[in-house]
Protein backbone atom coordinates (compact mmCIF):
# COMPACT_ATOMS: atom_id res chain seq x y z
CA UNK A 1 0.00 0.00 0.00
CA UNK A 2 2.89 2.38 0.66
CA UNK A 3 4.73 1.42 -2.54
CA UNK A 4 3.82 4.83 -3.99
CA UNK A 5 5.67 6.55 -1.10
CA UNK A 6 8.63 4.24 -1.69
CA UNK A 7 8.60 5.06 -5.42
CA UNK A 8 8.49 8.78 -4.61
CA UNK A 9 11.46 8.45 -2.24
CA UNK A 10 13.47 6.56 -4.88
CA UNK A 11 12.73 9.10 -7.61
CA UNK A 12 13.54 12.04 -5.31
CA UNK A 13 16.92 10.53 -4.37
CA UNK A 14 17.83 9.57 -7.95
CA UNK A 15 16.84 13.02 -9.25
CA UNK A 16 19.03 14.64 -6.56
CA UNK A 17 21.95 12.46 -7.60
CA UNK A 18 21.37 13.27 -11.28
CA UNK A 19 21.38 17.01 -10.52
CA UNK A 20 24.48 16.75 -8.31
CA UNK A 21 26.32 14.99 -11.13
CA UNK A 22 24.91 17.32 -13.82
CA UNK A 23 23.66 14.37 -15.83
CA UNK A 24 20.91 14.74 -18.37
CA UNK A 25 19.38 11.31 -17.97
CA UNK A 26 19.47 8.12 -15.97
CA UNK A 27 19.53 4.94 -18.02
CA UNK A 28 19.12 2.41 -15.25
CA UNK A 29 18.42 2.07 -11.52
CA UNK A 30 18.82 -1.18 -9.61
CA UNK A 31 16.81 -1.59 -6.39
CA UNK A 32 17.04 -4.36 -3.80
CA UNK A 33 13.84 -5.39 -2.01
CA UNK A 34 14.04 -7.93 0.81
CA UNK A 35 11.25 -10.45 1.29
CA UNK A 36 10.73 -9.08 4.84
CA UNK A 37 10.66 -5.42 3.77
CA UNK A 38 6.86 -5.43 3.45
CA UNK A 39 6.99 -4.26 -0.16
CA UNK A 40 5.04 -5.77 -3.04
CA UNK A 41 7.45 -5.66 -6.00
CA UNK A 42 4.60 -5.66 -8.55
CA UNK A 43 2.97 -2.66 -6.88
CA UNK A 44 6.33 -0.87 -6.73
CA UNK A 45 6.93 -1.58 -10.43
CA UNK A 46 3.51 -0.13 -11.22
CA UNK A 47 4.05 2.93 -9.02
CA UNK A 48 7.37 3.99 -10.59
CA UNK A 49 6.01 5.03 -14.03
CA UNK A 50 3.36 7.17 -12.30
CA UNK A 51 5.92 9.01 -10.24
CA UNK A 52 8.46 9.63 -13.06
CA UNK A 53 5.95 11.36 -15.31
CA UNK A 54 7.25 14.87 -16.13
CA UNK A 55 10.72 14.07 -14.78
CA UNK A 56 13.99 13.24 -16.54
CA UNK A 57 13.52 9.62 -15.43
CA UNK A 58 10.69 8.86 -17.86
CA UNK A 59 12.81 6.43 -19.88
CA UNK A 60 14.82 4.99 -17.01
CA UNK A 61 14.96 1.21 -16.81
CA UNK A 62 14.04 0.01 -13.28
CA UNK A 63 15.42 -3.29 -12.11
CA UNK A 64 14.04 -4.71 -8.85
CA UNK A 65 16.18 -7.47 -7.35
CA UNK A 66 14.39 -9.56 -4.70
CA UNK A 67 16.44 -10.61 -1.67
CA UNK A 68 15.45 -13.79 0.20
CA UNK A 69 15.30 -13.77 3.99
CA UNK A 70 18.16 -15.40 5.90
CA UNK A 71 18.49 -16.05 9.63
CA UNK A 72 21.43 -16.85 11.90
CA UNK A 73 20.79 -19.25 14.78
CA UNK A 74 22.42 -18.31 18.07
CA UNK A 75 21.93 -21.87 19.39
CA UNK A 76 23.74 -23.89 16.69
CA UNK A 77 25.44 -21.12 14.74
CA UNK A 78 23.88 -22.17 11.42
CA UNK A 79 22.47 -19.89 8.77
CA UNK A 80 19.24 -20.84 7.04
CA UNK A 81 16.35 -19.46 5.03
CA UNK A 82 13.11 -19.39 7.04
CA UNK A 83 10.25 -21.15 5.25
CA UNK A 84 7.54 -18.91 6.66
CA UNK A 85 7.04 -16.05 9.07
CA UNK A 86 7.97 -18.28 12.03
CA UNK A 87 11.67 -17.50 12.17
CA UNK A 88 12.95 -20.86 13.36
CA UNK A 89 16.36 -22.39 12.62
CA UNK A 90 16.05 -24.96 9.80
CA UNK A 91 18.75 -27.13 11.42
CA UNK A 92 17.95 -27.25 15.16
CA UNK A 93 14.50 -25.57 15.22
CA UNK A 94 15.64 -23.06 17.83
CA UNK A 95 13.69 -19.78 17.88
CA UNK A 96 16.79 -17.95 19.14
CA UNK A 97 17.54 -16.50 15.71
CA UNK A 98 18.56 -13.17 14.25
CA UNK A 99 17.45 -11.92 10.84
CA UNK A 100 20.60 -11.21 8.85
CA UNK A 101 19.06 -10.66 5.43
CA UNK A 102 15.66 -9.85 3.96
CA UNK A 103 14.88 -6.39 5.37
CA UNK A 104 16.75 -4.65 2.51
CA UNK A 105 15.08 -1.72 0.82
CA UNK A 106 17.99 -0.23 -1.08
CA UNK A 107 18.98 1.77 -4.11
CA UNK A 108 21.87 -0.40 -5.26
CA UNK A 109 23.18 1.37 -8.37
CA UNK A 110 22.26 4.35 -10.55
CA UNK A 111 23.58 4.52 -14.10
CA UNK A 112 23.82 8.12 -15.28
CA UNK A 113 24.23 9.32 -18.85
CA UNK A 114 26.83 12.06 -19.13
CA UNK A 115 26.40 14.38 -22.11
CA UNK A 116 29.59 15.28 -23.94
Amino acid sequence: MHELSIAQAVVERVENLRNERHSSRVSRVVLQVGSLAGIDCTALRQALPLVVENTALRKTEWKIVPVAAKIHCSACGCESQPENCFAVCAHCESADVRIIQGRELLIETVTLIEED
Binding site: I6, W62, K63, P66, V110
Partner: protein
Protein backbone atom coordinates in the same frame (compact mmCIF):
# COMPACT_ATOMS: atom_id res chain seq x y z
CA UNK B 1 7.00 -9.82 -18.47
CA UNK B 2 10.29 -10.46 -16.75
CA UNK B 3 9.60 -10.38 -13.00
CA UNK B 4 13.10 -9.25 -12.21
CA UNK B 5 13.45 -6.19 -14.35
CA UNK B 6 9.91 -5.73 -15.69
CA UNK B 7 11.29 -5.38 -19.22
CA UNK B 8 8.71 -7.37 -21.16
CA UNK B 9 11.06 -10.13 -22.30
CA UNK B 10 10.58 -13.73 -21.22
CA UNK B 11 13.46 -15.39 -23.06
CA UNK B 12 16.42 -14.58 -20.82
CA UNK B 13 17.60 -15.81 -17.49
CA UNK B 14 18.89 -13.87 -14.54
CA UNK B 15 21.42 -15.07 -12.04
CA UNK B 16 20.45 -13.46 -8.77
CA UNK B 17 21.43 -16.10 -6.29
CA UNK B 18 24.50 -14.16 -5.27
CA UNK B 19 24.94 -13.57 -1.55
CA UNK B 20 23.92 -10.18 -0.31
CA UNK B 21 25.03 -8.18 2.67
CA UNK B 22 28.58 -7.72 1.42
CA UNK B 23 30.20 -5.27 -0.96
CA UNK B 24 28.99 -5.88 -4.45
CA UNK B 25 31.51 -6.15 -7.18
CA UNK B 26 29.53 -8.28 -9.63
CA UNK B 27 28.13 -6.69 -12.72
CA UNK B 28 24.36 -6.67 -12.93
CA UNK B 29 24.56 -6.48 -16.70
CA UNK B 30 25.49 -10.16 -16.71
CA UNK B 31 22.69 -12.54 -17.51
CA UNK B 32 20.69 -9.71 -19.02
CA UNK B 33 21.80 -10.08 -22.58
CA UNK B 34 18.65 -9.37 -24.55
CA UNK B 35 18.62 -6.07 -26.41
CA UNK B 36 16.71 -3.08 -25.12
CA UNK B 37 15.76 -0.26 -27.39
CA UNK B 38 18.57 2.19 -26.60
CA UNK B 39 18.85 5.10 -28.97
CA UNK B 40 21.58 7.06 -27.28
CA UNK B 41 24.47 7.95 -29.48
CA UNK B 42 27.88 6.87 -28.38
CA UNK B 43 29.19 10.36 -27.73
CA UNK B 44 27.36 9.98 -24.40
CA UNK B 45 29.11 8.18 -21.58
CA UNK B 46 27.44 6.07 -18.92
CA UNK B 47 28.59 6.12 -15.31
CA UNK B 48 27.25 3.65 -12.79
CA UNK B 49 27.19 4.94 -9.22
CA UNK B 50 27.18 2.21 -6.56
CA UNK B 51 24.88 3.98 -4.14
CA UNK B 52 23.88 1.10 -1.81
CA UNK B 53 21.65 3.48 0.12
CA UNK B 54 18.43 2.82 2.02
CA UNK B 55 15.42 4.01 0.03
CA UNK B 56 13.93 5.52 3.17
CA UNK B 57 17.21 7.08 4.28
CA UNK B 58 15.71 10.59 4.21
CA UNK B 59 12.88 9.51 6.52
CA UNK B 60 15.35 7.57 8.70
CA UNK B 61 17.61 10.63 9.06
CA UNK B 62 14.66 12.83 10.07
CA UNK B 63 13.52 10.12 12.51
CA UNK B 64 16.98 10.06 14.12
CA UNK B 65 16.77 13.84 14.45
CA UNK B 66 13.37 13.52 16.16
CA UNK B 67 14.74 10.87 18.54
CA UNK B 68 17.73 13.05 19.45
CA UNK B 69 15.39 16.01 20.04
CA UNK B 70 13.23 13.88 22.37
CA UNK B 71 16.29 12.43 24.15
CA UNK B 72 17.62 15.93 24.89
CA UNK B 73 14.36 16.64 26.72
CA UNK B 74 14.14 13.27 28.44
CA UNK B 75 10.91 12.38 26.62
CA UNK B 76 9.96 8.76 25.89
CA UNK B 77 8.00 8.33 22.64
CA UNK B 78 5.94 5.28 21.67
CA UNK B 79 4.42 4.61 18.24
CA UNK B 80 1.00 2.91 18.56
CA UNK B 81 0.17 0.80 15.51
CA UNK B 82 -2.85 -1.40 14.82
CA UNK B 83 -5.63 -2.12 12.38
CA UNK B 84 -8.38 0.52 12.25
CA UNK B 85 -10.89 0.04 15.04
CA UNK B 86 -8.75 -1.97 17.42
CA UNK B 87 -9.23 0.58 20.18
CA UNK B 88 -6.16 2.85 20.08
CA UNK B 89 -8.09 6.04 20.74
CA UNK B 90 -10.25 4.71 23.59
CA UNK B 91 -7.17 3.20 25.26
CA UNK B 92 -5.45 6.58 24.94
CA UNK B 93 -8.45 8.41 26.40
CA UNK B 94 -8.38 6.20 29.49
CA UNK B 95 -4.58 6.31 29.67
CA UNK B 96 -4.43 10.13 29.58
CA UNK B 97 -7.08 10.38 32.29
CA UNK B 98 -5.26 7.91 34.52
CA UNK B 99 -1.81 9.48 33.99
CA UNK B 100 -2.81 13.15 34.11
CA UNK B 101 -1.89 13.68 37.77
CA UNK B 102 1.28 11.58 37.51
CA UNK B 103 3.15 12.17 34.24
CA UNK B 104 3.10 14.88 31.60
CA UNK B 105 1.76 13.24 28.43
CA UNK B 106 1.30 14.46 24.85
CA UNK B 107 -0.30 12.94 21.76
CA UNK B 108 0.24 13.18 18.02
CA UNK B 109 -2.59 11.32 16.30
CA UNK B 110 -2.82 10.42 12.62
CA UNK B 111 -5.80 9.68 10.41
CA UNK B 112 -6.46 10.07 6.71
CA UNK B 113 -9.18 12.63 7.40
CA UNK B 114 -11.00 14.46 10.21
CA UNK B 115 -9.75 15.66 13.59
CA UNK B 116 -12.26 13.44 15.41
CA UNK B 117 -9.52 11.65 17.37
CA UNK B 118 -7.85 14.90 18.48
CA UNK B 119 -11.23 16.14 19.70
CA UNK B 120 -11.85 12.89 21.62
CA UNK B 121 -8.42 13.19 23.26
CA UNK B 122 -8.64 16.92 24.06
CA UNK B 123 -9.38 18.18 27.58
CA UNK B 124 -7.53 15.38 29.33
CA UNK B 125 -4.60 17.46 30.43
CA UNK B 126 -2.32 16.55 27.49
CA UNK B 127 -1.41 18.62 24.43
CA UNK B 128 -2.83 16.89 21.31
CA UNK B 129 -2.14 17.52 17.62
CA UNK B 130 -3.84 15.80 14.71
CA UNK B 131 -2.11 14.91 11.43
CA UNK B 132 -4.47 14.38 8.50
CA UNK B 133 -2.50 12.35 5.99
CA UNK B 134 -5.25 12.69 3.29
CA UNK B 135 -4.10 9.93 0.94
CA UNK B 136 -1.16 8.44 2.82
CA UNK B 137 -1.62 5.21 4.75
CA UNK B 138 1.04 5.97 7.38
CA UNK B 139 2.76 8.80 9.26
CA UNK B 140 6.24 9.97 8.24
CA UNK B 141 9.04 11.43 10.35
CA UNK B 142 9.04 14.86 8.69
CA UNK B 143 5.49 15.85 9.72
CA UNK B 144 5.96 14.39 13.21
CA UNK B 145 9.16 16.44 13.57
CA UNK B 146 7.31 19.64 12.63
CA UNK B 147 4.76 19.05 15.39
CA UNK B 148 7.18 18.06 18.17
CA UNK B 149 7.90 21.62 19.39
CA UNK B 150 4.15 22.37 19.49
CA UNK B 151 3.09 19.27 21.36
CA UNK B 152 6.05 18.55 23.63
CA UNK B 153 5.68 21.30 26.21
CA UNK B 154 8.32 21.52 28.99
CA UNK B 155 6.46 19.23 31.42
CA UNK B 156 5.86 16.43 28.89
CA UNK B 157 7.73 13.18 29.59
CA UNK B 158 5.70 10.66 27.58
CA UNK B 159 4.66 11.11 23.94
CA UNK B 160 2.11 8.83 22.31
CA UNK B 161 2.12 8.79 18.51
CA UNK B 162 -1.13 7.18 17.37
CA UNK B 163 -0.43 6.04 13.84
CA UNK B 164 -2.93 5.73 10.98
CA UNK B 165 -4.95 2.53 11.44
CA UNK B 166 -3.03 0.09 9.24
CA UNK B 167 -1.08 -3.03 10.14
CA UNK B 168 1.39 -2.98 7.26
CA UNK B 169 2.62 0.39 5.99
CA UNK B 170 3.36 2.26 9.26
CA UNK B 171 5.89 -0.40 10.24
CA UNK B 172 8.25 0.73 7.45
CA UNK B 173 8.45 4.36 8.59
CA UNK B 174 10.54 5.18 11.64
CA UNK B 175 9.09 8.33 13.23
CA UNK B 176 11.79 8.82 15.85
CA UNK B 177 9.92 6.86 18.49
CA UNK B 178 11.79 4.77 21.04
CA UNK B 179 9.70 1.69 20.29
CA UNK B 180 6.51 0.49 18.70
CA UNK B 181 3.47 -0.84 20.57
CA UNK B 182 1.10 -3.06 18.59
CA UNK B 183 -2.59 -3.28 19.46
CA UNK B 184 -4.70 -6.30 18.62
CA UNK B 185 -8.39 -6.46 19.53
CA UNK B 186 -9.94 -9.83 20.32
CA UNK B 187 -12.55 -9.29 17.58
CA UNK B 188 -9.76 -9.51 14.98
CA UNK B 189 -9.01 -13.18 15.67
CA UNK B 190 -6.12 -14.90 17.44
CA UNK B 191 -4.20 -15.50 14.21
CA UNK B 192 -3.66 -11.80 13.38
CA UNK B 193 0.00 -11.94 14.48
CA UNK B 194 0.82 -14.66 11.94
CA UNK B 195 -1.30 -13.11 9.20
CA UNK B 196 0.48 -9.74 9.59
CA UNK B 197 3.90 -10.64 10.96
CA UNK B 198 5.66 -7.40 9.92
CA UNK B 199 4.28 -5.37 12.83
CA UNK B 200 4.28 -8.09 15.48
CA UNK B 201 7.87 -9.09 14.73
CA UNK B 202 9.01 -5.46 15.20
CA UNK B 203 6.97 -4.31 18.18
CA UNK B 204 8.45 -5.36 21.55
CA UNK B 205 5.08 -4.77 23.24
CA UNK B 206 1.59 -5.87 22.22
CA UNK B 207 -1.68 -4.87 23.85
CA UNK B 208 -4.59 -7.27 23.36
CA UNK B 209 -7.67 -5.05 23.67
CA UNK B 210 -11.45 -5.43 24.18
CA UNK B 211 -11.10 -8.45 26.48
CA UNK B 212 -14.59 -7.64 27.88
CA UNK B 213 -15.93 -9.13 24.61
CA UNK B 214 -14.24 -12.52 25.13
CA UNK B 215 -17.42 -14.24 26.46
CA UNK B 216 -19.13 -13.48 23.13
CA UNK B 217 -16.29 -14.69 20.87
CA UNK B 218 -14.36 -17.86 20.01
CA UNK B 219 -11.06 -16.02 20.41
CA UNK B 220 -8.39 -18.47 21.63
CA UNK B 221 -6.11 -16.44 23.95
CA UNK B 222 -3.67 -19.32 24.55
CA UNK B 223 -3.16 -19.80 20.83
CA UNK B 224 -2.80 -16.02 20.34
CA UNK B 225 -0.03 -15.92 22.94
CA UNK B 226 1.69 -18.88 21.22
CA UNK B 227 1.54 -17.16 17.82
CA UNK B 228 2.98 -13.98 19.32
CA UNK B 229 5.85 -15.87 20.95
CA UNK B 230 6.62 -17.66 17.67
CA UNK B 231 6.66 -14.43 15.68
CA UNK B 232 8.55 -12.51 18.33
CA UNK B 233 10.20 -14.48 21.15
CA UNK B 234 10.24 -12.33 24.29
CA UNK B 235 7.38 -10.03 23.21
CA UNK B 236 5.74 -8.37 26.22
CA UNK B 237 1.95 -8.59 26.28
CA UNK B 238 -0.92 -6.83 28.01
CA UNK B 239 -4.50 -8.10 27.99
CA UNK B 240 -7.02 -5.43 28.87
CA UNK B 241 -10.34 -3.75 28.29
CA UNK B 242 -10.46 0.05 28.19
CA UNK B 243 -14.25 -0.29 28.49
CA UNK B 244 -14.43 -2.38 31.69
CA UNK B 245 -11.07 -1.31 33.12
CA UNK B 246 -9.86 -4.91 33.38
CA UNK B 247 -6.05 -5.08 33.07
CA UNK B 248 -5.68 -1.28 32.89
CA UNK B 249 -3.77 -0.91 36.19
CA UNK B 250 -0.87 -3.04 34.98
CA UNK B 251 -0.71 -1.03 31.71
CA UNK B 252 -0.68 2.29 33.58
CA UNK B 253 2.05 1.13 35.99
CA UNK B 254 4.12 -0.07 33.02
CA UNK B 255 3.84 3.34 31.29
CA UNK B 256 4.63 5.18 34.51
CA UNK B 257 7.76 3.03 34.83
CA UNK B 258 8.97 4.05 31.34
CA UNK B 259 9.59 7.62 32.41
CA UNK B 260 11.30 6.81 35.70
Amino acid sequence: MCDTCGCGTESHHHHHDTEHGHDHTHDHEQGHSHPHDHRHDHAQAETTVALREKILSKNDTLAEKNRAWLDERGVVAVNLISAPGSGKTLLLEITLERLRERIGCAVITGDQQTDNDARRLAGKGAPVRQIETISACHLEAERVGELLPEVVTPDVKLLFIENVGNLVCPTAFDLGEHFKIALLSVTEGEDKPVKYPALFSQAPVVVITKTDLLPHLDFDMTRCREYLRKIHPGIYTFELSAKSGEGIDRWIEYLAGLTG
